[in-house]
Structure formats: C-alpha cells, structure tokens
C-alpha cells in the first residue's frame, strides 16, 4: 500500500511536467489525488498497528500517528486538487492585471504548478511514513523545495518576495534541525545498534534508557527550533503570513493544513524519543511556552489585521501554538485533544482558505474593509466563511470546540492554571479579532462594481470547502469509536503517564487506566472525562517529581563517568 501511496503521486507529478494538454493534466491531478485518498482509506481498512509492513529496510512505515497525519494530508489534498482543477481553468494563460498595483503579470506554466503540487503530495506522504530521523529531515526539506514554485504561481514581485523568504528562512531553520539529527545520533552512540537503525524511531525508543541525556536534550532543542521554523511557531513564524497570503488559495490551504502538520509530526517524533528516555518534563517545558507565545503573537496580529488572508495565516500560527501547548501539558487527555485538533484544525483551515479564494476572486481584494456583503454576492461561500470562522475559534458544535475544550480542561487538571487562563484569554482575543473582521465582511452592501462582476458560485468553488467543513462539524458532534481508539493509542505514546499509573497503584481509581483499549462503545464526550480523572490526577502531584528526579540523577551519573 505504502509504495503505491508514494509512487502514484510521484509518477503523475513527473508526467504532469511533460503533459502538454491542460484539460487532461487537470484530470490527472484530480485522479492522482482521488487515488491517494482511496489508498489511504484502504490502508486504514487493512491497518494493523502491531504488524505494519516495512519498506526500504524499515526506513518507511506507517504507524498510527503517521496514518492520522497521512489521512489529513490526503483529505486536504483531494479538496485542494478538486478546487485547483477548476481554479486553473479560470486562470487563463494571458497576462493578468494585478488587483493591488495595476501592473500586468503572467502565471507560472501550469505544467510546473501541477507537477510540483503532485510532488508536494509525494513528499508529504514520505514525511508521514518516515521512521528514520535522517529520512524525516530529507523529506521535510523536500516539501520546502517543491512547494516554493507553488507559492510563486502568480509571477509578480510580492509572491516572489514571499517565495524568497520562505525558501531562505525554512532552509536555514531546517539546517539547524539537521544538526539536531547529528546530535541525536551522537546521543545514541552507546546504544549498540546497527548502522541502519541508529536513528530509527523504534530503535531509539526501545534503547531510550541508553541515550546520553545531555546530547539528547541538545538534539531536541535543535530539532524543535528547526522544525518549529517550518511549523510556524513564534518567534520563527515570520515567513508564514507572507507565504500564506501571497500564494494561490488552494496552495495556502495545503500549506496551512498539511505542511505545517508535517513539521509538527517531526517534532512529535523527537518528543516520543524524549518521552521514552524519561525526558518528558524537559520537552514539555519547552513546548508549552512556545505554544503560548505563538498564540500570543497570533492574537496580537489578528486584532486589527487589515488583510483577511493574513488573518487566516496568523490563525494558523495560533493553531500550531495550540498543538504545541497541548503536547506541552503532558497528559493523556491533552495529547488526545491535540491529536483531534490536528485533524479538525487542519481541515477547517483548509476550508477557510478555499473560501477566502472565492472571496478574492469575486472582490479582487484582500483588504477586509473593501469586502462588504459577501452574503449577497456569494451566499454559499459566506455561509461557509461564517461556519469556518465559528469552527476555527472553537465555537460549539464544531470539532475544534471539543478538542480545545479537552486541552483546556487537561491544562487545569494538570495544575497549569496560569497557562490555562492565558490560553483561554488568548483564544477569546482571537475570537474577538476574527469576529470584528468576518462579520462586517459577510454583512453590508457590496459595491455596484462587485455586483456587476459577480458570476455566481461554481460547484468546484463550493463543494470542496463544504465537504471539509461538514467533516469538522460531524467530528464535533460524534467521533466514531474507532477514531477515539486510534487517537487514544497515539496519545499514549506521547505521554509518560502509563509508567506512573503502574508505579502508583494506590491512585488507581477502580478502572484500569489503560487507554489503548477502551472497549465500551459510549460516545466520546462521555469517555473523555474518565481518562482525565484517572490519568491527570495521577500526573499533577506525584508523576512529575519522580520522573524529573530520576532523569536528573541519571544525568548526574553520566557526568560522573
């Protein structure tokens, strides 16, 4: 399954570079995206977490976390591909007039754009399946390089500036992540593993107790800063707003929903190793402030933001901040919420960027104050715009409400009261900031010029974001038990809580706190608090102290040697 998932987009991508006819090339894009999604669904069908086939000496393997991220990538790419097929048909080959400054520009050759898009899918698939830190780095860097031409689709100076910033800042950041890889390899020097498994995820986790702690910490620091740059964590997020606002809307949707997640996945892999090595406290202390800082920066720039695509970009920074915050809390429930947030946050952001593309097409401006009366010009898009706004700011009944509420509750349960209050305050600020932008856009009367130009909404403009939005809505109301099961099993690998529960049997509250196999078929809402009680109460007072003590004593022992 995995070879096909990689090869289909790769081969169709290479084909697209040489395919002369536009119409069939667009079909090829949609076909490859659909095939990828179909294969992903089939991979879920045959998914067996215990026994996954390894590809290339075990460098590639889809574990449950990889599967989750792959599904998000695949779903978003399908939506973006359907949108792109229509979008490219609308963008002619002639010179366009720039809406902002009035000069004329041409588009990138459509062949290059489509080819790079498919290669982008290939590289992201490889990231989700990467089981080796070296390979992970190579593939994440590959995503940067193949997505740079996508940003420079409209060939004018603003998109060029965005492309340059993106290329340079992300490449430099990722260079630091490469150094982190080497440090990790040094820390694993004592594990007596074969060459091919030195930086292998499973090998590192199994030999975690033999890792050299100080080198491991240094390595995590570099990996966090490096991949954090790509992920858009503040203060390394500076490329993100420019890139997201200047690229064509389907590309923005992919960058925001899929690419940032891939970088987050790389950080999660490093976090997994640190957790296994008993260094969870160290990584949490780093992830939590980075998360809050990103939310803070997002809140500051969303308030009074004049450009709606930039506003969405900062909302992506916020989303990444929430993810980092959630993992930084270090409880099972928070990790569960974070994984849910990965899914719903990305899908709704993809939907919002696609709708933003519709508004941009109809109004020809990205300035919020120039867009009025979307409800009249684009009725369906305006409904989706409102729904997306409510969802992304975590209003019920959408999915993000559930995930962010879970994270917030876990924050209080683990005793991070100040952080939790900050989280809530920043989320509220962002709600206000976005409401002040979105509501006037939807209401009011459009200018006569816009009404005259309006050509209604096409199916390709509305169906993909609608589908994404519906998924997010459904996940807010009902999470299938299988999905709860998967999310729980992923969350278990991200927290040190299981060891603690065993070490302290007196604290067990009746039920076995083994979240891997919740057999009961209750609704997820009823199930979540139960884990909160069993896991996080055990965590906040007793868990952290012995863990950090043992780690420091081990570090001391190493320094003695």
């Amino acid at each position: 399954m995995l070879p096909l998932l990689v090869l289909i987009p790769a081969i169709s991508g290479l084909l697209a570079f040489f395919w002369q006819e536009d119409r069939t090339r667009r079909r090829l894009l949609v076909f490859a995206a659909a095939a990828h999604s179909g294969l992903t669904i089939a991979a879920w069908w045959y998914f067996d977490p215990k026994n996954q086939p390894e590809v290339l000496y075990g460098l590639l393997m889809l574990d449950s976390m990889g599967m989750l991220f792959l599904s998000v990538v695949s779903a978003l790419f399908l939506a973006a591909a359907l949108y792109t097929a229509g979008y490219l048909g609308m963008e002619s080959h002639k010179a366009h007039r720039d809406y902002l400054e009035g000069f004329f520009f041409v588009n990138e050759p459509e062949r290059v754009f489509t080819g790079c898009m498919l290669l982008f899918l290939t590289s992201m698939t490889l990231v989700t399946a990467g089981q080796h830190f070296g390979l992970l780095w190579v593939t994440v860097e590959m995503t940067t390089l193949v997505s740079a031409p996508l940003i420079y689709f409209h060939r004018h100076h603003r998109s060029l500036e965005a492309t340059w910033k993106y290329l340079l800042i992300c490449s430099v950041g990722l260079a630091l992540a490469l150094l982190g890889n080497f440090l990790l390899s040094v820390s694993a020097a004592g594990t007596d593993t074969e060459v091919y498994t030195r930086l292998q995820l499973t090998g590192l986790i199994n030999n975690a107790s033999k890792l050299q702690v100080s080198w491991l910490k240094a390595s995590f620091l570099f990996l966090l800063v490096g991949y954090g740059t790509k992920m858009g964590l503040a203060p390394m997020h500076t490329w993100l707003p420019d890139t997201h606002s200047e690229s064509p809307s389907p590309v923005s949707a992919l960058l925001s929903g899929a690419l940032l997640n891939c970088a987050f996945l790389a950080i999660l892999r490093a976090h997994q190793v640190c957790v296994a090595a008993g260094q969870a406290a160290f990584t949490q202390e780093l992830l939590l402030p980075f998360g809050l800082m990103s939310m803070g920066v997002a809140a500051v720039f969303i308030l009074g933001q004049p450009d709606y695509k930039r506003m969405l970009a900062y909302s992506s920074v916020e989303n990444m901040g929430i993810l980092s915050f959630g993992i930084g809390l270090g409880s099972q429930a928070a990790a569960f919420g974070t994984m849910l947030q990965v899914v719903v946050g990305s899908l709704i952001k993809g939907s919002l960027f696609l709708v933003a593309g519709n508004i941009l097409t109809a109004y020809g401006t990205k300035t919020i104050s120039d867009v009025r009366g979307v409800m009249r010009v684009l009725p369906l898009s305006s409904a989706l715009w409102m729904a997306g706004f409510l969802a992304v700011t975590a209003s019920p009944p959408f999915g993000p409400f559930l995930s962010e509420f879970t994270i917030l509750k876990a924050a209080f349960d683990t005793g991070h009261n100040v952080s939790a209050v900050l989280f809530l305050a920043l989320a509220a600020l962002i709600f206000i900031g976005m409401a002040a932008a979105v509501l006037p856009m939807v209401q009011g009367t459009p200018s006569a010029q816009v009404l005259e130009r309006a050509r209604g909404e096409r199916l390709w403009q509305v169906a993909p974001p609608l589908a994404l939005c519906l998924v997010v809505l459904v996940l807010g109301l009902y999470i299938p038990p299988q999905m709860t099961h998967i999310l729980n099993s992923i969350a278990t690998g991200l927290v040190p809580a299981v060891v603690v529960a065993d070490a302290d049997p007196a604290r067990k509250t009746g039920k076995e706190p083994d979240p891997v196999a919740p057999k009961n078929e209750e609704s997820p809402k009823a199930e979540l608090p139960r884990q909160d009680e069993t896991q996080s109460t055990a965590l906040d007072d007793s868990a952290r102290v012995p863990l950090s003590e043992s780690s420091t004593s081990r570090a001391l022992a190493r320094e003695d040697n």
Binding site: G134, A148, E161, T163, L168, V172, L178, Y196, L199
Partner: protein, 256 residues
C-alpha cells in the same frame, strides 16, 4: 601526532581561515571561489579522520560520500552560483550592514566562542568494539587490541572516541559564521553562500561524529542541498529580472 591527524587539523584550519576570509571579501565571485575550496577540503576530510592510527573510515560508503561531496560542494554548487551571478549581473556587496573589518572581528569572536563551546563538549562513549580507542591528546597513543567478539558491546571496554580538537570548533564556527553572513549580507546570492557555509559546518559535525548514517540518507541530504541551491538560484534569477537588483533589504513589501 601522525600524518593523518596533521592533515585533519590542516583541513579544518583551512576551513576556519576560509570562513574569516569570506567575511573580509566584498566580491561575490571571491566568496563563491572560497566556498568551492571549502567544499573540496570537506570532501577530503573523511579520508584523514583516523582511529587508532589506522584509517578505519575508508569503506565503500565513505568513498562514495566523500567523492560525491567533493564534486557537489566543490564544483557543481559553485558552478550554479556563478551562473546565477552571471544572470543576475551583480559584482559587489556594496554596503553590508556591518563593515568588513568589524565583521571579521565578530567572526573571530564567534570562533573564540566555538572553541570555548568545543572545550565543553563531552563526547559520549561508544559501545561498539570497532571504535574503541584511546583518547587523543597526543601522549597516550597506545593501540588497543580489537575485541574479536562480533557486536561486542558487552565484552569491549567502552572508550572515548579519537577526535581532533579542532573538529567541534571548526564545525560550530562555520555554522555560526554562515548564519552571521545571512544576516549581514544584503545580496540574495551572498545569503545562499551563507546557507552553504552553514551546511558545510553541519557536514563537518556529521562526518566526524555521526559517520554511520545510512548512505541513502547522506546522499538524500546532499541532494536536498543541491536542489535547494538550484531553486534558490532560479528564484534569484527571477528577483533580478523583476526588481533589477538582488538586494534583499528592498524585499519589504510584505509586512503587517
């Protein structure tokens, strides 16, 4: 100190000197040549690294990596940069944000910082039998017999890795000076050179300390650097065509 160690130190010293010269030179062509020479000496570096007086590193995978590095970093990347330079038609870094003599001074300070950090690094012990060796330091150079047991982590005495004292300072200073160049130079091409310097520093670190990555990954890293410079070169070409210059301080249309 044997010949190989001497050659290692020489190559690393060379790398450090190139870094400082880079800070002093204003002509972009000179910078490209310097980065090419640095790339070549890095390609040779793996052959000089020794353990126990004998060169354990020269395996088939190492030769492939060294040769590919030599060719890519010494010839192909500089060739691509020269081409971008010709297309963009720029010669000088006219006014860097920090003057040349001041930046050399800062470079020396970064070098001192790297030496200080290098002295604080404690290399971890190795468990594998084939790399058990005495500490380098000069005097105690007694070859230990290799343990015959395969995978003899348990039987072998864990030892320190033999490593030139210059490796970590050279790697760190190259990385830091590369980042410094990216910050102070305005021309897009010079920033790419800074990026290459960073990659070179990381390469020194990797080849000396983490030499047993799978060859597939090592080549993948090199391929990525190659493609990165390729894409950056194309972008620079477009920048020069759109703006009539490649001065990145003027790329400031996008902001909040």
């Amino acid at each position: 100190v044997n010949t190989m160690d001497f050659l290692t130190d020489l190559a690393l010293l060379f790398v450090i000197l190139i870094n400082l010269t880079m800070l002093a030179s204003s002509r972009i062509v000179t910078c490209i040549r310097l980065v090419a020479i640095q790339g070549m000496s890095l390609g040779l570096l793996p052959f000089f690294l020794t353990e126990q007086g004998q060169n354990l590193f020269v395996t088939r995978r190492l030769i492939i990596i060294a040769v590919v590095t030599f060719v890519v970093k010494g010839f192909i990347l500089p060739r691509m940069l020269t081409r971008a330079l010709r297309l963009a038609d720029v010669r000088h870094e006219i006014e860097p944000l920090i003057g040349h003599s001041a930046s050399v001074l800062i470079g020396v300070m970064l070098l001192a910082l790297s030496f200080w950090m290098g002295s604080r690094f404690q290399l971890p012990e190795l468990a594998r039998s084939d790399t058990v060796l005495p500490i380098s330091g000069g005097a105690e150079h007694q070859p230990q017999p290799k343990t015959p047991a395969p995978g003899g982590a348990t039987t072998a005495e864990p030892g320190k890795r033999h490593l030139s004292n210059l490796v970590i300072p050279a790697a760190l200073s190259t990385i830091l000076i590369g980042m410094f160049l990216i910050v102070i130079r305005k021309k897009a091409l010079n920033q790419v050179i800074g990026y290459l310097l960073m990659e070179n520093g990381i390469y020194i670190f990797g080849v000396a300390l983490a030499y047993d990555e799978p060859i597939l990954i090592e080549l993948g890293v090199l391929l990525d650097v190659f493609v990165a410079v390729f894409v950056m070169g194309i972008t620079i070409f477009h920048i020069s065509r759109t703006f009539d210059h490649i001065d990145t301080t003027l790329l400031t249309n996008l902001k909040d």
